[in-house]
Symmetry: C2
Subunit: 122 residues, 2 copies
Amino acid sequence: MERSTRQRQAIREVLSELNRPLSPAEVLEAARRKVPGLGIATVYRTLKGLLAEGSAVMVELPGEPPRYELAGKKHHHHFRCTRCGKVFELEGCPGDLSDMVPAGFRAERHEIVLYGACTECH
Amino acid sequence: MERSTRQRQAIREVLSELNRPLSPAEVLEAARRKVPGLGIATVYRTLKGLLAEGSAVMVELPGEPPRYELAGKKHHHHFRCTRCGKVFELEGCPGDLSDMVPAGFRAERHEIVLYGACTECH
DNA sequence: ATAGATGCAAAGGGTTTGCACTTGA
DNA sequence: TCAAGTGCAAACCCTTTGCATCTAT
C-alpha cells in the first residue's frame, strides 16, 4: 500500500461514504462508478492491504461472504436485513455473557448478529 | 430421502454420536470410518436432504463453512474454540436484545457466538 | 527510470451437478 | 425390476495468483 492510486482512493472513498460493512462485490460495484475499469482482483488486494495496515477490519457474518468496514470504530455488533441483505452497525452490547460459558471453557470474545427488516424494507 | 442406505445411516449416526455441529468435511471423515468408499458429494446431498426434511439444521458461524446438527434442539448458541476449531453448543441466552435495535428496524432473531478455549485446549 | 500497482486470465479451494453404475425395496 | 442413490469427475462460484502492462514517484 505504498502508492496512492485512483483505484485505492476510490475503494477507500466507497468504504467511507457508504459507512456500512461491504462485501468485495459491493465495493467493486460502487467503486467502478468512480473508476470504470476497476478489476475485482484489485478490490481483493486493496481490501487485504487495508486490513494489513489496520485501516479496515473484516466483518464476518454467518453464511455470508466477509465484509469490510473502516477501522477505528468502538465495540459494536451488526444487523442484517433479511430482505435486502444489507448489513448495518448496531450500538450497544448486552455485555456480560459469562452465564452462557460452561465450566472448563474460557470465552475471550463474542459476536452478536441480529436479523430482521431494516428501515427501508419493513 | 426415500431409501435407507448405509451411507445415510452412517451420516445420521455421526451427527447423533458426535453431538456437535459438523462441517461436511468432518462428517465425511467420521462417516468414512463406517462406510469407507463414501464420497463427499453424497455427504453434501445427504446433509441437504436432512435439512429439507427438517431432520437437521444448518449452523453458520462467521467466517466458517456451514455446519450441520440434528434438529429439534431448543434455542441455543455456539462456542467456537479458537485453538482446535471445534464448535460446541451453549446453554442459555441473554434474552432481550431489543436495546440494540435502532428505531425503524425490526429484529426477528439473533445469533450469538462466543470464541475462546474449550476444555481440551485451555 | 523503475518498483509498485493494475487487469486479465488461469489456478485454487470448497460446493454442486451430470452421468453411468449400483442397490434398496 | 428399476427408480433412488452413489461415486467419480467436471462444472461452478468466489477468491487468489502469475504475468505482462501501466503508472506514481
